[in-house]
């Protein structure tokens, strides 16, 4: 027999932890991606099919490098969170759920950082 109240026993349990923060963060990234995607398309679309020298030269503009780095940082996190929601919705076995969530994180972090690395290398080393 404990003298703790029912309220004290359940406090901190359940889903009322950081869900609102997570939800708001997802929306914030979505909103940020609206202008970033427009900038990304305006910069990258005309570069597809151009020769190496033209592509390298266009990255000498800091606006291009910085906005593309921002785009890839926000979009890889958005991709990771989005893919995780899809995995959680459709995969029901606990083992493959865990494996897929880990694989998803590895995949998104790898490609996100590869993008930032490539942009920085082009910008600084040509």
């Amino acid at each position: 027999m404990t003298f703790r109240t029912d309220r004290a026993k359940v406090s901190g349990l359940g889903s009322a932890k950081s869900g609102a923060d997570h939800w708001f963060g997802e929306r914030l990234k979505s909103v940020a991606l609206i202008p970033l995607t427009i900038i990304f398309v305006l910069i990258v679309a005309p570069l597809i099919g151009k020769d190496h020298a033209t592509v390298i030269a266009s990255f000498q503009n800091p606006f291009v490098s910085i906005s593309l780095i921002l785009f890839f940082l926000v979009s890889f996190k958005h991709l990771e969170e989005g893919l995780q929601v899809v995995i959680e919705d459709y995969v029901h076995s606990k083992g493959s759920l865990l494996l897929l969530i880990i694989f998803n994180k590895l995949f998104c972090w790898t490609f996100g950082l590869a993008a930032v690395f490539a942009i920085l290398k082009i910008t600084f080393a040509g």
């Binding site: 929306r27 979505s30 909103v31 991606l33 609206i34 995607t37 398309v41 305006l42 990258v44 679309a45 005309p46 597809i48 099919g49 020769d51 190496h52 592509v55 390298i56 890839f72 979009s75 890889f76 991709l79 989005g82 893919l83 899809v86 995949f107 490609f111 590869a114 993008a115 690395f117 490539a118 942009i119 290398k121 082009i122 080393a125």
Partner: protein
């Protein structure tokens, strides 16, 4: 306690048994385009990595991307990006609590579908890959 929760409970209506509607189809397409954009993400980052490595790798990736197959995948990715962006904006409008009226929801759905094709044509024309 945990036994009672499991049981053979009725499930919420899933895609397979749900009558397709404007709002449900246009919404699931946001998810499908989002997942397939992972491929576009890989493609464009491979292109960037090749550009950062040297001109030979770049020419190799460039010739794949500008082959007929590469162009089809790229245009598909552009459409997926346009659709996902417009559909995402519609979901943001819904998240703010507007546009739940059936008529408005339907109209928003058509705007997303038609808008995605118009934007795709604009981006493909602007990129000059087909010229």
């Amino acid at each position: 306690m945990s036994k009672r929760v499991k049981g053979n409970r009725p499930l919420s209506p899933h895609l397979t048994i749900y009558r397709p509607q404007m709002s449900s189809i246009s919404s699931i397409l946001v998810r499908i385009t989002g997942v397939s954009l992972a491929l576009g993400f890989i493609l464009i980052i491979t292109w960037l990595l090749a550009a950062s490595t040297n001109v030979y790798y770049f020419d190799c990736i460039n010739s794949i991307l500008t082959s007929w197959f590469g162009i089809i995948v790229l245009i598909g990715s552009v459409w997926a990006l346009c659709y996902h962006s417009l559909g995402g904006i519609r979901h943001l409008i819904w998240d703010m609590g507007f546009g739940f009226d059936l008529k408005i929801a339907d109209r928003l759905g058509w705007m997303v579908i038609i808008g995605s094709f118009i934007l795709t044509i604009f981006v493909v024309y602007y990129s000059g890959v087909l010229l």
